[in-house]
Symmetry: C2
Subunit: 333 residues, 2 copies
């Protein structure tokens, strides 16, 4: 294992300290219990949005803290849910009286700990809504999940819900946006090479030189099957077809095409995947209305990609386009 770390037990601490230093203009780190929040939170009148989960998926979630997206993020240990305590503290820190939305990826530990945190924060009089993201079409259940896993679609949920909160939607409406995005969002991934969890020290799975893992999870958990290595266009087809079959968008629908890197794959290769994915969508009579290409929901240094498709109506398009100012996603209009 060759990593730019000091100590497998200090990986998350060192990462968030560096992150908070680099983005001191917009993010504040609390070290105990560990959570990060917008430096201007709580924002008066605005619904707060908190997300979190195991570390190792950077820039998710802390990279999405800022105007138009998250108010706070709670990083757990690598690939391990945070406990309820920091989630409660993050929730309190960002509540401006308008309530707080929890955006939770569908893993058993995350769901349980966010539920407990919501109950505890509720006892303090904070109104909480929770939305569970489960966009991965690869498997119905998995090592860490009952039901579908939450993967890169989480970025789309956090972006649109964040924009809704910023425009002044109330808690029910913001939660409604998050659920609506989740309902029209599907993802699937593929790995060429595994990652190594620092405190484990060994690759999380093995692949022969001539095979790839189709439907990989973002913790290296198994997907649908190992298939033969093939040209990028064929691999792209193997990933996008199950997404389209599950999503079944109507002809002419406007979609967001999001090609996400798993952490160790060059940007150039993601654009090669994007090219074929856009071609497939055009062949199906779909309109690629918006695009996102890059490393947003990663799995340490895993090599591979995922594709996420979201069907965007006028309202979701406006929310996607709304200004966002976070370390990892920034644009104005």
């Amino acid at each position: 294992m060759k990593k730019l770390i000091n100590d497998p037990q200090r990986v998350v601490d060192d990462t968030v300290r560096g992150f908070a230093l680099a983005h001191a203009d917009r993010v504040v780190l609390t070290e105990s219990p560990i959570h990060l929040r917008r430096s201007d939170a709580p924002v008066p009148g605005k619904v707060g949005i908190v997300s979190g989960g195991g570390s190792g998926h950077e820039p998710l979630h802390a990279g999405f803290i800022g105007h138009g997206m998250l108010d706070a993020a709670v990083p757990g240990p690598v690939f391990t849910s945070p406990t309820p305590d920091p989630i409660v503290e993050a929730t309190k820190a960002v509540d401006a009286g308008a309530g707080v939305l929890h955006i939770v990826k569908n893993y058993t530990g995350d769901v349980l700990n966010f539920e407990t945190a919501a109950e505890l924060a509720g006892m303090d009089g904070i109104r909480i809504e929770s939305v569970v993201v489960d966009d991965d079409v690869a498997v119905q259940d998995s090592l860490y999940t009952a039901g579908r896993r939450g993967v890169a679609g989480t970025v789309v949920v956090e972006k649109c819900a964040g924009a809704a909160a910023e425009r002044g939607d109330d808690l029910d409406a913001v939660a409604g946006v998050a659920r609506r995005v989740n309902a029209v969002t599907r993802s699937m991934g593929l790995a060429l090479a595994p990652c190594t969890v620092p405190h484990a020290g060994e690759p999380s799975f093995t692949l022969a030189e001539d095979e790839v893992e189709l439907g990989i999870g973002i913790h290296g958990e198994p997907g649908r099957e190992k298939i033969a290595m093939a040209p990028a266009d064929q691999l792209t087809d193997r990933v996008i077809e199950p997404i389209l079959a599950d999503l079944s968008p109507s002809e002419g629908a406007r979609v967001l095409l999001f090609v996400n890197g798993m952490g160790g794959t060059p940007l150039s290769e993601l654009y090669i995947v994007y090219r074929r994915a856009a071609e497939v969508l055009a062949e199906r009579g779909l309109q690629v209305a918006r695009s996102l290409v890059g490393n947003y929901v990663t799995s340490l240094e895993m090599q591979g990609f995922s594709i996420t498709l979201s069907v965007l109506d006028d309202d979701l398009l406006a929310l996607w386009d709304a200004p966002v100012e976070t370390p990892a996603l920034r644009w104005g209009r």
Copy 2:
């Protein structure tokens, strides 16, 4: 070799097609001879800025096309300079009559081909200035270079020169800004694991499990020496010390601290490096005025990082902060 490609000979074509599709709102691709330009170029009255070089360093250079940065980028084959012909075409395409600046990384092939292109475009009556970036303190000469290599500092040169052109500086002034940034910018890199050039099919160098390459070039060319693998803080010290020794900033100077990933290194590890680098700068009485952390000048899937320091005066700070709208770097004020 396991890569998301269709054919080693089609890597650049497939990449730029995907890139142009994903960013069709701001970038136009010409396939023969291959170059990319701002969709609104030439911008009336503005000095045009063209950069380029071998592919494999994405998002450099095409990712920096847009308002406030480049007008055009010319991608060569992987790790190989583009020929003069596409550089001439790109130069003509973005000239609005105010002249064109060429920003060239200091590699023998790039310097030669940009020189030839400048002569040819000059015969068509276009005023050209050329600035060669040579920020790498690792080695004086190298496999591909007479003098120092141009590496990640190129991003800072392109950003500040782009902002100067956007505010209306004339050609001499824009070139002056580029030279001034280059003069106050130093970089050095380190690799944990090599990359594989698609058409070569073999890793460009080898490293034992317990060693790293200090002073690596962005084409995998050798650096200063192979040193023992060590904790991230120690490796960071080994990279930042020679930069500081060479740059010798005065006490209290304001610096941009740019931690760049080589392509295959997780963002979390770059923040671990950033944390220690910021600590070292504080110990030296320097002020980290601006920060940039991420994969901007890569070397395919190489694992490793580089650090770039630029001393910023008031004018350069204002140019760095000026709005930029490109696929890879975006912010407004």
